[in-house]
């Protein structure tokens, strides 16, 4: 029993290419402990140490030294806190959405909780504000203490310079009055004296500027205490804002509450209509109808939730798979035909050679124009409407920008699959084809029983490359097409320019990398499942 568990575990590890886990399993079964420990050191401890070293280099050497107009390169801790705040934002928006549709006792209990919190947060806000004020005061005091002697020095230098300049200029003027006409050497000496005076003045100014710069540096210094107080203040303010909004969503803005008001209005309108006479009855009837319509809309409404990072990630993954499947659906049949027939291959080669190197940046505008021409108004077009009604993917609101991004992904990623499929089909083992010949298998039978199974490993190797390329292309495509997704998130942050935008973009770097890794792992598993020889594909 335990032994079969061990073999299963080892098989799974082998299949998923997570070889670094293998020594742990073997160690747990007491198999050659020293050897396993050495492997753990090699494949777990060393990589972890390298990661830590990388983080240290980033925190101590890179981020403090890279300074830009939008602030310095965020350190690992700043990036981590940005990731935390993105997560918090997603959770709060989820809560607001739930609060809007909450009903009955649940809603009342929730509202009571929120209001209680809101009351208690008042004190927190005040204390946070007070801390900021105090921190600023302390900062100002310490700065002015440090600046005062420097300022005094500057002032003294300035007065001394002014006095000396006035004295020297007066002397030169006097000298000018008694300058004899025709004595050129003496006049030349006079010019030299005047130039000397100017040089001396420049020197003095430079000295004053250096001290001024020092003062400026001190003024610009950011006191960590103030920064901490400010971020604390922002966090508390954001929380207060959130609680207020929650109170509204649970209170007067709640759907149930709005439905009740709408109902009341409708009742009033109806009463007016029943009692109205003559021409007034017409207007009253119109009011009843519009009140009914408004009520129906309110009943179906939902909270207009802004796009959270998680939503963007989901939409990006959906988009990359849409493009990937589209591309594969084109690439595999063409690749098979290319592999089967050298004539077809010859016919396709110019197309493949010509379009393969085209960059996504070129495909995207073309795809965007075509998609928007096909679907000018996604709110009315039957295709988008039908897509929005679909159960799982309806919520992602597929629009022309999404389609253009998916098509771009398909156009850029299909080449690897196409070329690999053609290669796989063309290089089926001759012995296997002889078997087909001896059995006189028909075309389809030969294709599905021999050619395709034998080329599957290469096809999947191509698919794996395609998905990787597609993921890279997608982020760029979303960024340019403003299709809701990770790429658009980066673009929004870039344009937003808030103090934490830089850090949020860095968070995205890691998310994109992690998802790319995950997609690649999934493809590795598929690749291994179809590799009939049980051979290990390159990782």
């Amino acid at each position: 029993m335990l032994q079969t568990l061990k073999t299963t575990l080892l098989k799974v590890i082998d299949l998923t290419a997570l070889g670094f886990l293998e020594p742990y399993v073997r160690l747990a079964y007491g198999e050659e402990p020293t050897k396993q420990l050495r492997k753990i050191g090699q494949f777990t401890v060393v990589p972890v140490l390298v990661i830590i070293a990388g983080l240290l280099v980033w925190a101590t050497m890179i981020s403090p030294n890279v300074k830009t107009k939008s602030g310095e390169l965020p350190s690992p801790t700043v990036v981590a806190s940005a990731a935390g705040s993105l997560h918090q934002f997603a959770i709060r928006e989820g809560n607001k959405e739930a609060a809007y549709v909450a009903t009955g006792e649940e809603r009342e209990a929730w509202l009571a909780d929120v209001e209680a919190e809101l009351e208690s947060i008042g004190a927190e806000v005040e204390s946070a504000n007070a801390t900021v004020v105090e921190a600023r005061k302390a900062e100002a005091a310490s700065k002015s203490e440090r600046i005062a002697p420097l300022q005094a020095k500057v002032d003294a230098l300035k007065t001394a310079m002014k006095e000396e300049r006035a004295a020297k200029q007066a002397a030169l003027k006097e000298q000018a009055a008694s300058l004899p006409v025709g004595d050129n050497p003496q006049r030349a000496a006079y010019l030299g004296e005047l130039a000397g005076l100017n040089a001396w003045l420049d020197e003095q100014k430079a000295e004053i500027d250096t001290i001024d710069d020092q003062i400026k540096l001190i003024r610009d210094e950011k006191d960590p205490a103030v920064l901490a107080a400010l971020s604390q203040q922002t966090a508390v303010a954001e929380r207060e804002q959130y609680l207020k909004k929650m109170a509204e969503q649970l209170g007067e803005d709640n759907r149930q509450a709005r439905v009740a008001t709408g109902q009341e209005k409708l009742d009033v309108a109806k009463t007016t209509f029943f009692n109205a006479e003559g021409a007034a009855a017409f207007n009253a009837a119109k009011k009843v109808i519009s009140a009914e319509e408004r009520l129906a809309k309110t009943e179906e409404s939902s909270y207009a939730k802004p796009a959270t990072l998680y939503y963007q990630i989901q939409r990006s993954i959906l988009c990359v798979f849409a493009g990937f499947f589209l591309g594969s659906a084109i690439a595999i049949p063409i690749g098979v035909l290319c592999g089967l027939s050298t004539t077809f291959m010859g016919a396709m080669t110019p197309f493949i050679a010509l379009f393969k190197p085209v960059s996504p940046i070129v495909w995207l505008p073309i795809a965007l124009i075509v998609a928007s021409a096909l679907i000018p108004d996604p709110d009315k077009h039957w295709f988008t409407q039908w897509m929005w009604e679909l159960p799982l993917i309806g919520q992602y609101k597929i629009n022309p920008a999404f389609m253009a991004s998916a098509v771009t992904v398909a156009l850029c990623s299909l080449w690897a699959t196409m070329v690999n499929t053609a290669l796989g089909v063309a290089s089926v083992d001759k012995d296997h084809l002889n078997v087909a010949k001896v059995l006189r298998l028909g075309f389809w039978s030969r294709l599905f029983k021999i050619v395709l199974p034998s080329s599957l490993p290469l096809v999947f190797a191509g698919l794996r490359i395609s998905l990787g390329v597609g993921w890279m292309v997608l982020i760029a495509a979303e960024l340019l097409s403003s299709s809701e997704g990770i790429g658009k998130f980066v673009w929004d942050q870039f344009n937003n320019g808030a103090s934490d935008s830089f850090a949020k973009m860095m968070v995205v770097v890691f998310i994109v990398g992690a998802i790319g890794l995950l997609l690649d792992r999934i493809m590795v598993v598929f690749q291994r499942l179809v590799s009939f020889e049980g051979s290990i594909a390159a990782v």
Partner: protein, 309 residues
């Protein structure tokens, strides 16, 4: 009809040579096989044995000549001539059963799924794989894989079974096992068989007649040797038979005369100079010459064998 069940008439394989005349690898190969007979083809490596077999199988284009099986001139490959290759050539993405089933589906298109499965299982158990039907090729040893290859060929119920050095890649113990497996099946099913080998003992043990090929290029049938042992055969009895070493010696003599590095013309010349009778008239590498007797080449009698040894 049963005496001339398979006729190979003046078979020629020529490859184009841009610098001169086409290279005739096989030139005027004649052989007639009785129904149910096992004919061994022996010769030095590279002499064109496999070329002849692949041409008979239809996998290699025939330059000139005909292959007639059961009264019909063959055209291209077909399931009436099943081949067991030197490498097992199993499809690695199918189990043993699936590999056999692939052919069975072709040959029994009207059978039910159950019937076809029973046929596959029968032949797999015939080669001793009753327990390994659902294994994939990668889970089987070379010998087991070759057994599947044999089952796949025989399950087609072919008119002719073509064995292309089927044991060439196996160790000698497995080889002996499989020789007995095939002989057992042949005794049972009476399939006309052509087996290519370069192993003298294997040829003597398995064949009813052995066809010795001259060296290529322009290879052809040099001599044909009858093996008079009764079937079913028993290895020990065959080995202890008084004629065994004579037959074996005759084969080795022939092969030595056609040592790889000697051209047939030189051999004939040597023989003439020594005043001996020529090896055999069909050894003469004259293009287009036709020995006349398509049935047996020119068979050696037992007396000649005894005398020659």
């Amino acid at each position: 009809m049963t005496d001339r069940y398979v006729e190979i008439v003046n078979l020629v394989k020529a490859y184009p040579n841009p610098l001169g005349d086409a290279v005739r690898v096989v030139d005027g190969f004649n052989l007639t096989v009785r129904k149910g007979e096992v004919v061994g083809v022996i010769g030095h490596s590279g002499c064109g044995k496999s070329t002849v077999l692949t041409m008979v199988a239809g996998l290699n284009e025939i330059t000139a000549g005909d292959v007639v099986v059961d009264g019909k001139v063959t055209d291209g490959p077909g399931p009436d001539r099943a081949v067991v290759f030197q490498a097992p050539c199993l499809l690695p993405w199918m189990t043993a059963l699936g590999n056999v089933m692939l052919g069975v589906k072709r040959v029994y298109p009207h059978g039910t799924k159950q019937q076809r499965k029973e046929i596959c299982e029968y032949y797999l158990s015939l080669v001793g794989l009753a327990d390994a039907m659902h294994k994939y090729p990668r889970e089987m040893s070379g010998g087991m894989q070759q057994r599947v290859g044999i089952a796949r060929a025989i399950a087609l119920r072919p008119k002719m079974l073509l064995l292309d050095e089927p044991f060439g890649r196996l160790d000698s113990l497995t080889r002996m096992d499989l020789q007995d497996v095939i002989l057992g099946i042949l005794d049972h099913e009476k399939i006309t068989t052509m087996v290519i080998t370069h192993d003298v003992d294997e040829a003597v043990y398995m064949s009813d007649r052995i066809c010795m090929m001259t060296n290529g290029p322009r290879a052809r049938v040099g001599q044909v040797l009858e093996i008079p042992f009764e079937r079913p055969r028993n290895r020990r009895e065959v080995l202890e038979h008084e004629l065994y070493y004579d037959l074996r010696g005759c084969l080795i003599d022939f092969l030595e005369k056609f040592d790889k590095h000697k051209h047939p013309e030189d051999v004939a010349k040597d023989a003439k100079e020594k005043g001996e009778s020529a090896v055999h008239e069909s050894v003469h590498p004259v293009v287009g010459e036709y020995s006349g007797d398509t049935r047996y080449g020119s068979p050696l009698t037992l007396a000649e064998v005894g005398g020659g040894a």
